[in-house]
Protein backbone atom coordinates (compact mmCIF):
# COMPACT_ATOMS: atom_id res chain seq x y z
CA UNK A 1 0.00 0.00 0.00
CA UNK A 2 1.38 3.43 -0.91
CA UNK A 3 1.34 6.49 1.35
CA UNK A 4 -1.69 8.10 -0.30
CA UNK A 5 -3.81 4.96 0.00
CA UNK A 6 -2.78 4.54 3.62
CA UNK A 7 -3.76 8.11 4.50
CA UNK A 8 -7.12 7.59 2.80
CA UNK A 9 -7.63 4.41 4.81
CA UNK A 10 -6.65 6.23 8.00
CA UNK A 11 -9.13 9.03 7.28
CA UNK A 12 -11.91 6.62 6.49
CA UNK A 13 -11.32 4.35 9.50
CA UNK A 14 -11.22 7.28 11.91
CA UNK A 15 -14.16 9.14 10.37
CA UNK A 16 -16.66 7.79 12.91
CA UNK A 17 -14.39 8.64 15.86
CA UNK A 18 -13.89 12.12 14.46
CA UNK A 19 -17.64 12.54 14.14
CA UNK A 20 -18.20 11.39 17.74
CA UNK A 21 -15.83 13.97 19.12
CA UNK A 22 -17.56 16.70 17.15
CA UNK A 23 -20.88 15.52 18.55
CA UNK A 24 -19.59 15.59 22.11
CA UNK A 25 -21.70 17.95 24.21
CA UNK A 26 -18.64 20.02 25.09
CA UNK A 27 -17.66 20.45 21.43
CA UNK A 28 -21.24 21.27 20.49
CA UNK A 29 -21.40 23.92 23.17
CA UNK A 30 -18.12 25.42 22.01
CA UNK A 31 -19.43 25.73 18.47
CA UNK A 32 -22.83 27.05 19.47
CA UNK A 33 -23.92 30.67 19.42
CA UNK A 34 -24.35 30.44 23.21
CA UNK A 35 -20.70 29.77 23.92
CA UNK A 36 -19.18 31.85 26.73
CA UNK A 37 -15.65 32.58 27.88
CA UNK A 38 -16.20 30.10 30.71
CA UNK A 39 -17.18 27.33 28.29
CA UNK A 40 -14.11 28.05 26.23
CA UNK A 41 -11.85 28.01 29.32
CA UNK A 42 -13.30 24.69 30.47
CA UNK A 43 -12.82 23.27 27.00
CA UNK A 44 -9.13 24.20 27.17
CA UNK A 45 -8.81 22.66 30.63
CA UNK A 46 -10.39 19.43 29.46
CA UNK A 47 -7.80 19.06 26.69
CA UNK A 48 -4.82 20.01 28.82
CA UNK A 49 -4.47 16.75 30.72
CA UNK A 50 -4.13 14.79 27.51
CA UNK A 51 -2.02 17.27 25.54
CA UNK A 52 0.42 17.74 28.43
CA UNK A 53 0.70 14.02 29.15
CA UNK A 54 1.17 13.16 25.48
CA UNK A 55 3.94 15.72 25.05
CA UNK A 56 5.69 14.56 28.19
CA UNK A 57 5.33 10.80 27.78
CA UNK A 58 4.90 10.13 24.06
CA UNK A 59 6.88 12.84 22.26
CA UNK A 60 10.26 11.42 23.36
CA UNK A 61 9.62 8.34 21.22
CA UNK A 62 9.73 10.54 18.10
CA UNK A 63 12.95 12.34 18.96
CA UNK A 64 14.76 10.89 15.95
CA UNK A 65 12.26 12.36 13.47
CA UNK A 66 13.97 15.73 13.22
CA UNK A 67 11.83 16.76 10.26
CA UNK A 68 8.85 16.98 12.61
CA UNK A 69 10.41 19.83 14.61
CA UNK A 70 8.82 18.40 17.73
CA UNK A 71 9.59 21.35 19.96
CA UNK A 72 7.52 23.56 17.67
CA UNK A 73 4.62 21.14 18.01
CA UNK A 74 4.39 21.42 21.79
CA UNK A 75 1.16 23.18 22.64
CA UNK A 76 0.30 22.49 26.28
CA UNK A 77 2.03 25.72 27.39
CA UNK A 78 -0.23 27.62 24.99
CA UNK A 79 -3.29 26.29 26.82
CA UNK A 80 -1.89 27.56 30.10
CA UNK A 81 -1.07 30.93 28.53
CA UNK A 82 -4.61 31.28 27.16
CA UNK A 83 -6.11 30.37 30.55
CA UNK A 84 -3.95 32.99 32.24
CA UNK A 85 -5.09 35.61 29.75
CA UNK A 86 -8.69 34.52 30.37
CA UNK A 87 -8.08 34.98 34.12
CA UNK A 88 -8.83 31.34 34.76
CA UNK A 89 -6.93 29.04 37.07
CA UNK A 90 -4.24 26.88 35.51
CA UNK A 91 -5.20 23.49 34.12
CA UNK A 92 -4.05 20.39 35.96
CA UNK A 93 -2.22 17.47 34.32
CA UNK A 94 -4.82 15.16 35.77
CA UNK A 95 -4.21 12.03 33.72
CA UNK A 96 -2.26 9.07 35.02
CA UNK A 97 1.16 8.84 33.32
CA UNK A 98 0.81 5.08 33.11
CA UNK A 99 -2.06 5.60 30.71
CA UNK A 100 0.36 7.14 28.22
CA UNK A 101 3.05 4.53 28.86
CA UNK A 102 0.52 1.80 28.22
CA UNK A 103 -0.92 3.19 25.03
CA UNK A 104 1.99 4.92 23.36
CA UNK A 105 4.79 2.38 23.56
CA UNK A 106 5.93 2.49 19.93
CA UNK A 107 6.61 5.18 17.33
CA UNK A 108 3.63 3.92 15.31
CA UNK A 109 1.29 4.33 18.27
CA UNK A 110 2.64 7.82 18.95
CA UNK A 111 2.19 8.77 15.30
CA UNK A 112 -1.42 7.61 15.50
CA UNK A 113 -1.95 9.84 18.51
CA UNK A 114 -0.21 12.73 16.82
CA UNK A 115 -2.47 12.35 13.80
CA UNK A 116 -5.36 13.32 16.06
CA UNK A 117 -3.58 16.14 17.88
CA UNK A 118 -2.01 17.60 14.73
CA UNK A 119 -5.30 17.26 12.87
CA UNK A 120 -6.91 19.33 15.60
CA UNK A 121 -4.79 22.33 14.54
CA UNK A 122 -6.91 22.46 11.38
CA UNK A 123 -10.12 22.35 13.39
CA UNK A 124 -8.65 24.92 15.75
CA UNK A 125 -8.73 27.52 13.00
CA UNK A 126 -12.45 26.93 12.50
CA UNK A 127 -13.17 27.09 16.24
CA UNK A 128 -11.15 30.28 16.51
CA UNK A 129 -13.16 31.88 13.74
CA UNK A 130 -16.41 30.90 15.42
CA UNK A 131 -15.31 32.20 18.83
CA UNK A 132 -14.16 35.47 17.28
CA UNK A 133 -17.59 35.86 15.69
CA UNK A 134 -19.55 35.13 18.88
CA UNK A 135 -17.25 36.52 21.58
CA UNK A 136 -15.52 39.27 19.62
CA UNK A 137 -12.68 41.19 21.22
CA UNK A 138 -13.13 39.34 24.53
CA UNK A 139 -10.99 36.50 23.19
CA UNK A 140 -8.51 38.53 21.14
CA UNK A 141 -5.01 37.22 21.88
CA UNK A 142 -6.43 34.41 24.00
CA UNK A 143 -6.62 31.66 21.41
CA UNK A 144 -2.94 30.86 20.96
CA UNK A 145 -3.62 27.13 21.42
CA UNK A 146 -6.32 27.07 18.75
CA UNK A 147 -4.12 29.14 16.45
CA UNK A 148 -1.00 27.17 17.39
CA UNK A 149 0.86 27.34 14.08
CA UNK A 150 -1.05 30.34 12.69
CA UNK A 151 0.12 30.91 9.11
CA UNK A 152 2.25 27.75 9.20
CA UNK A 153 -0.69 25.43 9.92
CA UNK A 154 -0.85 24.06 6.38
CA UNK A 155 2.87 23.43 6.05
CA UNK A 156 3.16 21.83 9.51
CA UNK A 157 0.29 19.51 8.64
CA UNK A 158 1.82 18.57 5.29
CA UNK A 159 5.21 17.77 6.85
CA UNK A 160 3.51 15.56 9.42
CA UNK A 161 1.31 13.82 6.85
CA UNK A 162 4.27 13.05 4.64
CA UNK A 163 6.09 11.35 7.48
CA UNK A 164 2.94 9.57 8.62
CA UNK A 165 2.19 8.36 5.09
CA UNK A 166 5.67 6.90 4.75
CA UNK A 167 5.41 5.20 8.15
CA UNK A 168 2.10 3.66 7.16
CA UNK A 169 3.44 1.85 4.10
CA UNK A 170 4.49 -1.14 6.20
CA UNK A 171 1.61 -3.36 7.23
CA UNK A 172 2.50 -3.76 10.92
CA UNK A 173 2.79 -0.03 11.49
CA UNK A 174 -0.30 0.72 9.42
CA UNK A 175 -2.68 -1.13 11.72
CA UNK A 176 -1.00 0.19 14.83
CA UNK A 177 -1.25 3.80 13.65
CA UNK A 178 -4.93 3.42 12.83
CA UNK A 179 -5.75 1.66 16.12
CA UNK A 180 -3.88 4.29 18.07
CA UNK A 181 -5.62 7.15 16.26
CA UNK A 182 -9.04 5.61 17.00
CA UNK A 183 -8.03 5.11 20.61
CA UNK A 184 -6.74 8.67 20.91
CA UNK A 185 -10.03 10.05 19.62
CA UNK A 186 -11.81 7.96 22.27
CA UNK A 187 -9.52 9.21 25.07
CA UNK A 188 -10.01 12.84 24.05
CA UNK A 189 -13.73 12.29 23.84
CA UNK A 190 -13.65 10.94 27.40
CA UNK A 191 -11.58 13.96 28.54
CA UNK A 192 -14.23 16.30 27.14
CA UNK A 193 -17.13 14.32 28.61
CA UNK A 194 -15.67 13.97 32.08
CA UNK A 195 -14.56 17.58 32.35
CA UNK A 196 -17.98 18.71 31.18
CA UNK A 197 -19.62 16.52 33.81
CA UNK A 198 -17.40 17.83 36.58
CA UNK A 199 -17.71 21.40 35.42
CA UNK A 200 -21.45 21.19 35.65
CA UNK A 201 -20.95 19.82 39.13
CA UNK A 202 -18.67 22.72 40.12
CA UNK A 203 -21.21 25.23 38.92
Amino acid sequence: MDATSFLQQLRSQTARSHQLIEQNVSSQLLMSKHVTITHYAHYLKSLYGFVYGFEKMAFPLLKDYEVLQLDDRRKSHLIQADLTMLHHTAAEPYLNEELFNTHYQTTAAVLGGMYVLEGSTLGGQIINKHLATVLGHAIAGKTTYLMAYAGKTGSMWKIFLQLLGEAGTTIDKRDEIIDSAVHTFALLNTCLEIKYQFTEYEN
Binding site: Y94, N96, A186, T190, Q197, Y201
Partner: protein
Protein backbone atom coordinates in the same frame (compact mmCIF):
# COMPACT_ATOMS: atom_id res chain seq x y z
CA UNK B 1 -23.83 -19.90 34.52
CA UNK B 2 -25.20 -16.52 35.52
CA UNK B 3 -23.60 -13.83 33.43
CA UNK B 4 -25.13 -10.45 32.78
CA UNK B 5 -25.20 -8.86 29.38
CA UNK B 6 -23.78 -5.47 30.28
CA UNK B 7 -24.94 -2.64 28.06
CA UNK B 8 -25.31 0.21 30.47
CA UNK B 9 -23.33 1.09 33.60
CA UNK B 10 -23.23 4.07 35.95
CA UNK B 11 -20.51 5.34 38.25
CA UNK B 12 -20.85 7.74 41.16
CA UNK B 13 -17.40 9.22 41.70
CA UNK B 14 -16.29 12.67 42.82
CA UNK B 15 -12.67 12.32 41.76
CA UNK B 16 -12.19 13.52 38.19
CA UNK B 17 -9.11 11.41 37.45
CA UNK B 18 -10.74 8.25 38.77
CA UNK B 19 -13.86 9.00 36.71
CA UNK B 20 -11.72 9.49 33.62
CA UNK B 21 -9.85 6.22 34.16
CA UNK B 22 -13.10 4.34 34.70
CA UNK B 23 -14.65 5.63 31.51
CA UNK B 24 -11.46 5.20 29.49
CA UNK B 25 -11.01 1.62 30.65
CA UNK B 26 -14.63 0.60 30.10
CA UNK B 27 -14.66 2.16 26.63
CA UNK B 28 -11.50 0.27 25.83
CA UNK B 29 -12.81 -3.07 27.10
CA UNK B 30 -16.33 -2.87 25.72
CA UNK B 31 -16.86 -0.14 23.18
CA UNK B 32 -20.65 -0.51 23.10
CA UNK B 33 -21.30 0.03 26.80
CA UNK B 34 -23.04 3.26 27.75
CA UNK B 35 -21.24 4.81 30.72
CA UNK B 36 -22.94 7.43 32.85
CA UNK B 37 -20.81 9.32 35.32
CA UNK B 38 -22.35 11.13 38.28
CA UNK B 39 -20.00 13.43 40.18
CA UNK B 40 -21.69 12.76 43.54
CA UNK B 41 -24.33 10.57 45.16
CA UNK B 42 -27.12 13.08 44.71
CA UNK B 43 -26.50 13.30 40.99
CA UNK B 44 -26.49 9.51 40.75
CA UNK B 45 -29.86 9.20 42.49
CA UNK B 46 -31.33 11.95 40.31
CA UNK B 47 -30.09 10.09 37.24
CA UNK B 48 -31.49 6.74 38.45
CA UNK B 49 -34.87 8.25 39.25
CA UNK B 50 -35.12 9.72 35.77
CA UNK B 51 -33.45 6.95 33.75
CA UNK B 52 -35.61 5.27 31.15
CA UNK B 53 -33.05 2.50 30.84
CA UNK B 54 -31.73 1.28 34.17
CA UNK B 55 -28.00 0.39 34.26
CA UNK B 56 -27.31 -3.30 34.80
CA UNK B 57 -24.40 -2.36 37.03
CA UNK B 58 -23.78 0.60 39.32
CA UNK B 59 -20.31 1.41 40.65
CA UNK B 60 -20.15 3.45 43.84
CA UNK B 61 -17.29 5.35 45.35
CA UNK B 62 -17.83 5.56 49.10
CA UNK B 63 -16.49 8.96 50.05
CA UNK B 64 -18.46 11.54 48.14
CA UNK B 65 -19.96 14.91 49.02
CA UNK B 66 -23.72 15.47 49.55
CA UNK B 67 -24.61 11.78 49.54
CA UNK B 68 -21.96 9.14 50.12
CA UNK B 69 -21.74 5.66 48.66
CA UNK B 70 -23.37 3.94 51.65
CA UNK B 71 -26.37 6.28 51.47
CA UNK B 72 -26.75 5.58 47.76
CA UNK B 73 -26.43 1.85 48.40
CA UNK B 74 -29.22 1.91 51.00
CA UNK B 75 -31.47 4.01 48.78
CA UNK B 76 -30.98 1.77 45.79
CA UNK B 77 -31.50 -1.42 47.78
CA UNK B 78 -34.67 -0.06 49.39
CA UNK B 79 -36.28 0.35 45.98
CA UNK B 80 -37.62 -2.98 44.72
CA UNK B 81 -37.61 -1.96 41.08
CA UNK B 82 -33.81 -1.76 41.25
CA UNK B 83 -33.34 -5.18 42.86
CA UNK B 84 -31.71 -6.84 39.91
CA UNK B 85 -29.11 -4.12 39.48
CA UNK B 86 -25.66 -5.20 40.52
CA UNK B 87 -23.86 -2.80 42.82
CA UNK B 88 -20.09 -2.72 42.92
CA UNK B 89 -18.27 -0.64 45.51
CA UNK B 90 -15.08 0.96 44.20
CA UNK B 91 -13.12 2.38 47.06
CA UNK B 92 -9.59 3.30 48.03
CA UNK B 93 -10.24 1.78 51.44
CA UNK B 94 -9.73 -1.90 52.21
CA UNK B 95 -10.85 -1.72 55.83
CA UNK B 96 -12.53 -5.03 56.75
CA UNK B 97 -15.30 -3.25 58.69
CA UNK B 98 -16.14 -1.10 55.69
CA UNK B 99 -16.16 -4.09 53.35
CA UNK B 100 -18.43 -5.99 55.73
CA UNK B 101 -20.79 -3.02 55.99
CA UNK B 102 -20.98 -2.75 52.23
CA UNK B 103 -22.00 -6.39 51.86
CA UNK B 104 -24.45 -6.16 54.76
CA UNK B 105 -26.11 -3.19 53.06
CA UNK B 106 -26.58 -5.02 49.81
CA UNK B 107 -23.44 -4.54 47.72
CA UNK B 108 -22.78 -7.37 45.31
CA UNK B 109 -19.06 -6.80 45.13
CA UNK B 110 -16.43 -4.68 46.84
CA UNK B 111 -13.34 -3.73 44.88
CA UNK B 112 -10.37 -1.77 46.19
CA UNK B 113 -9.16 0.74 43.60
CA UNK B 114 -5.72 -0.27 42.38
CA UNK B 115 -3.16 2.48 41.87
CA UNK B 116 -1.94 1.07 38.58
CA UNK B 117 -3.82 1.65 35.33
CA UNK B 118 -3.05 -1.87 34.09
CA UNK B 119 -4.30 -3.48 37.29
CA UNK B 120 -7.42 -1.36 37.19
CA UNK B 121 -8.10 -2.44 33.62
CA UNK B 122 -7.59 -6.12 34.45
CA UNK B 123 -9.85 -5.79 37.47
CA UNK B 124 -12.62 -4.14 35.45
CA UNK B 125 -12.35 -6.75 32.73
CA UNK B 126 -12.91 -9.49 35.29
CA UNK B 127 -15.74 -7.55 36.87
CA UNK B 128 -17.60 -7.04 33.59
CA UNK B 129 -17.28 -10.74 32.74
CA UNK B 130 -18.09 -12.04 36.19
CA UNK B 131 -20.13 -15.16 36.82
CA UNK B 132 -22.43 -13.76 39.52
CA UNK B 133 -23.54 -17.25 40.60
CA UNK B 134 -20.14 -17.76 42.10
CA UNK B 135 -20.73 -14.81 44.39
CA UNK B 136 -23.99 -16.04 45.84
Amino acid sequence: MYEIQIKNVALAEDDEEDAFLFKAVISELKKDIIVTIAADGNLLMTFLNQATLMPEMIFLDLNMPYKNGFECLSEIRSNETWNSTKIVILSTSSQPQQIENAYKNGADLYLAKPVSYTHFKNMMEQCLNLNWDGLK
